[in-house]
């Protein structure tokens, strides 16, 4: 009886299996493993015109009016004021460090003009345990997290207090304490790294946010990162700052599709496009993206539309490839700092007097940090040999000893006095 029933079960199972295979094979839908889809008998090429472009999410209009009241995140007043103060502080620091480069006091600088809201808005939506990978124009994020003016200046000077020990160019900040991974110049390399970090942080209620520009999104590493994040299901937020230019290259020469956001769904990523000049919109997107990434353990792509108001860097004169009228338009009609100020003023959280006082205070603070930073000596010059490896291998020790002897002998030809001993 038992034997019989077993064979009956087997028979039934086999029958079911063959019916299954049969239904699958006879099914109307295509069975290719590469895509789950339907047939069509109409030959049709798809292009970006086949879909509506992805809309830009906003909370405020250009005058700082909230358009749909339910979309206002209703942030605490002190948070809103802190956001604004950070944006202005960032502007003051940019102004002074930019000028100091012009005077030859630091070797290089990059400003953040026009993109302040995307930095502060996204940073405010995250917590300190979330890991940040940045490109280089995200100084507001670091500022929001608590990096001090002195720490910024020290890095730009590569002085004895620079956490990076004077190894990298100015604006290549990093802070272990603040979970802000040290910036490097090669574009987009941080994207797949952010994915790997997010994989390590799976199921820990933390996310990784990775910032990059519209130009960097053209690198192969961006493709790698999007695809890895989607297939390996990593809680990472890709935050693209689409500011219209990669140095002199306008977006029309950067991509043929609907910006960066349109790439997201093609990788199977939750995607949103946001007004990068609207700090409340950026805040909302990042908050929701973090919630989603943690809940689903999946990546999100945020494309923040904005405009690079400053030159690319101190080595660039942007009037060579764009009109100053265009820049002026963004500065006067749609500037993220102004937009938040209008909003605050409407809520009586800010006024002209507070503005004046805060401007004065920030300038004083930045100058103070600047002067301090300038006075500090550089680290020991022998630091050049440290941190290549965890422990110095013999061949490096040999090179260090040789150089020490040489410098001792020819010291008048080296700037030893600028370095600590």
């Amino acid at each position: 009886m038992v034997v019989f029933s077993r064979s009956v079960t087997q028979c039934l199972r086999r029958l079911c299996r063959s019916i299954n295979t049969c239904t699958r094979l006879c099914s109307e839908s295509p069975l290719f493993p590469g895509a789950k889809t339907r047939w069509t008998e109409k030959l049709e090429f798809l292009n970006k015109g086949s879909y509506e472009p992805i809309p830009v999410y906003r909370v405020m209009d250009r005058q700082g009016n909230v358009i749909v009241p339910s979309e206002d995140p209703n942030l605490p007043e002190e948070t809103l004021v802190k956001m604004y103060k950070n944006m202005v502080l960032l502007n003051s620091m940019d102004k002074i460090l930019y000028e100091s480069q012009r005077q030859g006091r630091i070797s290089f600088y990059m400003t953040n003009y026009g993109e302040e809201a995307s930095h502060i808005g996204s940073a405010a939506a995250l917590s300190l345990e979330d890991v940040v990978y940045a490109q280089y124009r995200e100084v507001g994020v670091l500022m929001w997290r608590g990096f001090t003016l002195q720490e910024f200046v020290d890095q730009c000077y590569g002085n004895i207090d620079d956490m990076g020990k004077g190894k990298q160019m100015p604006v290549h900040y990093g802070s272990k304490k603040l979970n802000f991974v040290t910036i490097s110049s090669p574009l987009a390399t941080q994207l797949p790294q952010a994915v790997g970090s997010a994989y390590s942080l799976k199921d820990q209620n933390r996310v990784v946010i990775c910032y990059f520009g519209d130009g960097a999104a053209s690198e192969g590493d961006a493709h790698a990162a999007f695809n890895f994040a989607a297939t390996l299901q990593c809680p990472v937020l890709f935050f693209c700052r689409n500011n219209g230019y990669a140095i002199s290259t306008p977006v029309e020469e950067q991509y043929g599709g609907d910006g960066i956001a349109a790439q997201g769904p093609s990788y199977g990523m939750a995607t949103v496009r946001v007004d990068g000049n609207d700090i409340l919109a950026v805040y909302n997107c990042t908050t929701k993206a973090k919630e989603y990434a943690i809940r689903e353990q999946k990546p999100v792509l945020i494309e923040a539309m904005t405009y690079r108001v400053g030159d690319h860097s101190t080595s660039d004169d942007s009037t060579a490839y764009r009109s100053s009228d265009e820049v002026l338009h963004w500065q006067t009609n749609d500037y993220p700092v102004h937009k938040l100020r209008y909003y605050l003023e409407k809520r009586s959280l800010w006024n002209e007097d507070l503005e004046k006082a805060w401007l004065q205070e920030t300038r004083k603070d930045v100058l103070k940090a600047f002067n301090e930073g300038e006075k500090k000596p550089k680290p020991k010059w022998t630091e050049v040999f440290d941190d290549v490896y965890k422990y110095m291998p013999p061949h490096l020790t040999k090179q260090k000893n040789q150089m020490q002897k040489h410098v001792e002998k020819y010291k008048e030809h080296y700037p030893v006095h600028k370095f600590s001993s």
Binding site: S175, K176, V181, T182, G220, D387
Partner: protein, 367 residues
């Protein structure tokens, strides 16, 4: 013992001999197993892929944060190195990635930055170049550029390398010299199973990013009695495999076995006593062991499969010349692959065979 068992053993023995004969005809070298064993304890006969698999198993078993990933590693890898690991440790720890080398290494760096032990596989060393930027500009410079705040020391990259008989341009390359020019990176090449396990375990636990280039021709061919216990072999130290007094032969990976044959040939035909050194570690490399040997023998021959110009042999020549100038009695010889891409049907004429090495030895003593 039953007759059946005896018979099976006989057949197996005969087969093995047959395979060895076939191999020696097909390959350009005769593999000689290591007889010195680094640690006491149980040993098991393993070929090189099994030894690597055993090392990876040891890592996953001892280090809960460790992950293994790359193209096709999930089902066991195209060279069987990761067989059984996904079943044993789960697909969160042993998994396939999309087919993208720059992604694999970037991903590995990011995981390592968070403190995860990341073991990345590049399917063939020939395909490591898409990840060159991530390795050279990122992995190698991570600690330095951040002032020691961040590092990716927990990253290890495994890549099968070297000639395999028929691999042509993109399944034969030995790219060590490209990476040897990269401060911040460590590079090792094992010559057999015992070495492969010990070096891999060292690389994984080393605080710096490591690249381990595994000569793929040895995966099945090289069989040794490998300790089953956990052990590590030093990075940065060369092995003197054969002691000699007249000439130092230096190589790494498969070429070590060629050089051992050359030493025998030189002894037999020319009565020249060769010292054979396996460099083991390309970066940092063991200047002391090499120079000590050359000062004794007064002659050096370096041999590698990679092309001559700017091959790692050039670095050895320059250093030996500088350190051993007064001891040298003949110019330092290099027997290497030619400055051509690695060809398919011409492989027997491309590789630095024992006969090319032997002729170079002759010439050095006619100098």
């Amino acid at each position: 013992m039953s007759i059946n068992k005896v018979c099976t053993r006989c057949v197996r023995k005969l087969l093995r001999r047959e395979v060895k004969l076939l191999n020696s005809k097909r390959n350009h070298f005769v593999y000689t197993p290591d007889t010195t064993v680094p640690v006491k304890g149980d040993r098991l006969e393993m070929n090189m892929y099994q030894a690597i698999n055993n090392a990876l198993d040891t890592v996953l078993g001892t280090d809960k944060s460790s992950i293994i990933f790359g193209e096709d590693v999930g089902f066991g890898g195209v060279f069987r190195c990761t067989v059984g690991l996904r079943d044993k440790y789960g697909k969160q720890r042993v998994f396939n990635t999309p087919l993208c080398e720059q992604g694999i290494i970037g991903f590995g760096i990011g995981a390592a930055v968070m403190g995860t032990t990341a073991i990345a596989e590049i399917q063939f060393a020939d395909y490591i170049f898409p990840a060159f930027d991530q390795i050279v500009n990122e992995a190698a410079k991570y600690r330095y550029r951040s002032g020691g705040q961040f590092d990716c020391g927990k990253l290890t990259i495994r890549a099968p390398c070297g000639a395999v008989g028929h691999g042509a341009l993109y399944h034969s390359q030995s790219p060590e010299a490209y990476f040897a020019h990269t401060p911040g990176l460590k590079i090792v090449v094992p010559r057999g199973p015992i070495k492969a396990k010990g070096l891999l375990l060292s690389c994984v636990r080393d605080p710096d990013p490591c690249l381990i280039l595994e000569p793929k021709v040895l995966y099945r061919k090289a069989v040794e009695e490998v300790p089953v216990d956990d052990y590590q072999l030093p990075i940065g130290r060369a092995d003197v495999l054969v002691e000699g007094s007249d000439l130092t032969l230096i190589g790494w990976g498969t070429q070590v076995h060629v050089l051992k044959e050359v030493a025998e040939l030189a002894k037999k035909e020319l009565d020249i006593s060769c010292e054979v050194i396996d460099l083991v570690s390309i970066l940092p490399w063991d200047v002391d062991t090499v120079c000590k040997s050359v000062k004794k023998t007064k002659r050096a021959l370096i041999s590698h499969e990679a092309p001559l110009t700017s091959g790692f042999g050039a670095e050895l020549v320059a250093t030996i010349q500088e350190e051993c100038f007064l001891h040298l009695e003949a110019p330092i010889a290099r027997v290497t692959g030619f400055d051509t891409p690695f060809p398919h049907v011409y492989e027997p004429f491309y590789i630095p065979t024992k006969w090319r090495c032997f002729e170079a030895v002759q010439q050095m003593f006619d100098y």
